[in-house]
């Protein structure tokens, strides 16, 4: 399979060139966002191509983000909402998935069909009814309205069911012979084996809900209850798209947590985000 070295050198340089160009395009928005967030307004509006900031505008831009918006509040809201969603999703999905995979009960196959159908239903479909319900209950602009629609995750139940289903039966029988009770088997033998799957799902769900704009846009109008994506939208509309330095600083602040987490735990992230397979 070894090819002659001269042609392989040429093809190697060519593919690195293509890949580098691609990488530049992929990274361009991030670079431009970060660079612009450090530039003072006169530099941003000056005509002509300038890449690196010549004067330091970072302090002012980031200062405006934190003074003009409750940015910390957005971040805290994001953390509270996402953590609540993920924790509740897992707490509800684990027992259900275990039952689906390992305990025959009446209505099990109907329940599973329901899960499969729910996998096809994006949040936009029930959103209308849920909005009316939350509005009626006076729960708009609350954490409850941001969290509740997502605490049942058909995807989590499906994923974990597959995992529990493929747990080797013989290990469970070995545990019975070792005098483990049925509850202990579930809790101490099968569940620990699902930790990586639960971790992957948690990453997936955390990212999805941190980034979600649709539902917060529907139920939140009070900036104090905004999640980071909605917060940056509020900020953009308030600046009416003129203070680009501060806008880019805001974008940097709200995308930084995920980007840092991704860079620190790439493997976990990639596995989690592609766990839909």
């Amino acid at each position: 399979m070894r090819r002659r070295s001269s042609s392989s050198l040429v093809s190697s340089i060519a593919s690195h060139a293509v890949l580098m160009l691609g990488a530049l395009v992929m990274l361009l928005p991030f670079l431009w966002m970060a660079l612009t967030s450090l530039k003072p307004p006169q530099e941003i509006f000056r005509f002509g191509l300038h890449i690196l900031p010549e004067q330091w505008g970072g302090a002012e831009n980031y200062g405006r983000v934190f003074s003009d918006t409750p940015m910390l509040r957005f971040l805290v809201n994001g953390i509270v909402v996402c953590s609540a969603i993920v924790v509740l999703q897992v707490l509800i999905a684990v027992p259900a998935a275990y039952a689906l995979a390992r305990i025959p009960f009446r209505g099990r196959s109907l329940f599973f069909s329901l899960i499969l159908i729910s996998l096809l239903v994006p949040i936009q479909v029930p959103s209308l009814f849920l909005y009316l319900g939350f509005a009626h209950a006076g729960l708009l602009d609350t954490y409850a309205s941001l969290v509740l629609p997502f605490i049942i995750s058909a995807f989590a139940i499906f994923l974990l069911r597959q995992h529990f289903l493929h747990f080797p039966q013989e290990v469970i029988e070995a545990a019975r012979l070792d005098n483990f009770g049925e509850f202990e088997i579930a809790w101490r033998i099968v569940l620990p084996s699902a930790r990586p799957a639960i971790g992957a799902f948690a990453v997936f769900s955390m990212v999805a809900h941190w980034n979600d704009l649709y539902w917060p846009l529907v139920v939140v109008t009070d900036p104090a209850m905004a999640t980071p994506p909605l917060g940056v939208v509020f900020f953009r509309n308030q600046e009416s798209g003129s203070d680009f330095g501060a806008l880019m600083a805001a974008a940097t602040v709200i995308s930084a947590p995920l980007i840092l987490a991704f860079l620190l735990a790439q493997r976990t992230f990639v596995r989690g985000l592609t766990s839909i397979r």
Binding site: S12, I92, P104, R106, L114, L213, P229
Partner: protein, 297 residues
């Protein structure tokens, strides 16, 4: 007779108990809302009015006769038809190129995957700035090259394509990672076997081994990308608001406007039903043909 059979009955009770919260929530948060929405679509319900009247298929008839609806459908379709081949093709290309480059492979992976792991709306706002007709980087470059400026997101001729470009940027890395997983699952032996069978060039190897072996992955990636593309929303909702001249009006945005700005509940419900039908059709295509392809391997 023996303890196991008595135990089985007790077990079944435990099973139902474990599943009960999930079943209850599924009914409350998915089944009921979906059925209710289908019901709303047959009424003339608007928020604020007192009486709700049965309207039969009036809402669907109104949809059928609404040019904005058709524009929204056409835009969503066009967007999907650009983003799917674009991001799947680029994702596959990137995966193939990166797979064969040991050195720098981790860097490329991170660079291409970064858009997937970032907060999309923030990046959409950055794209808006990049595409700004006066101070945006792209127009600065065009000006430096002596070319006329382009109002990417503001011109009806270019707005949808600019939005699609952002979509391709967003999804390529994700597809690349899926393809890389698919590539790594191809047994090395097959390449040796194809070499014995006379596959000389990289293209031969791609044609004889890689492409056929990637078939199921590709199918899956196309479906996933379609489902995501049909759900395009953020840029239209925040940046362009469907403008200019409805050039970026897409299905989800129409739903959002009808439901939560005009509170045209009945009409929005009909739109939602149409949207659900579209996504379900795509997913069913996967269930139908995806399963078959797996079985054919």
């Amino acid at each position: 007779m023996t303890p196991l059979s008595a135990q089985k009955r007790a077990e079944a009770r435990v099973g139902l108990m474990l599943a009960a919260p999930a079943i209850l929530l599924l009914v409350l948060l998915v089944v009921l809302p979906v059925l209710a929405t289908a019901g709303f679509s047959l009424t003339d319900y608007r928020l604020g009015t007192q009486a709700i009247g049965f309207a039969g298929f009036d809402n669907y008839a109104a949809l059928w006769n609404d040019p904005r609806f058709w524009q929204s459908v056409a835009n969503t379709a066009t967007y999907t038809l650009i983003v799917v081949p674009g991001s799947v093709g680029l994702g596959l290309g990137a995966a193939l190129l990166i797979e064969s480059r040991g050195w720098l492979k981790p860097f490329y992976r991170v660079a291409y995957f970064l858009p997937v792991a970032s907060t999309f709306i923030a990046m959409a706002i950055v794209w808006e700035f990049l595409m700004n007709p006066s101070v945006g980087l792209f127009n600065q470059i065009l000006a430096a090259l002596g070319l006329p400026s382009v109002n990417f997101l503001g011109n009806p001729q270019t707005a949808l394509y600019s939005m699609a470009a952002i979509g391709i940027w967003e999804l390529t890395g994700f597809n690349m990672v899926l393809f890389m997983a698919g590539l790594s699952a191809i047994p090395r032996d097959l390449y040796d076997a194809s070499a014995v069978d006379g596959a000389e060039s990289g293209w031969d190897r791609f044609r004889m081994v890689t492409w056929p072996m990637l078939g199921p992955t590709t199918f899956f990636v196309v479906i996933i990308t379609m489902i995501r593309a049909v759900r395009v929303f953020e840029v239209a909702a925040v940046i362009t608001q469907g403008r200019p001249e409805g050039a970026t009006e897409v299905l989800l945005y129409s739903i959002y406007v009808q439901a939560f700005q005009y509170f045209n509940i009945g009409y929005a419900a009909a739109l939602i039903v149409v949207f659900l039908a579209v996504t379900a059709l795509i997913a069913l295509a996967q269930a139908r043909f995806g399963g078959q392809r797996e079985a054919n391997r």
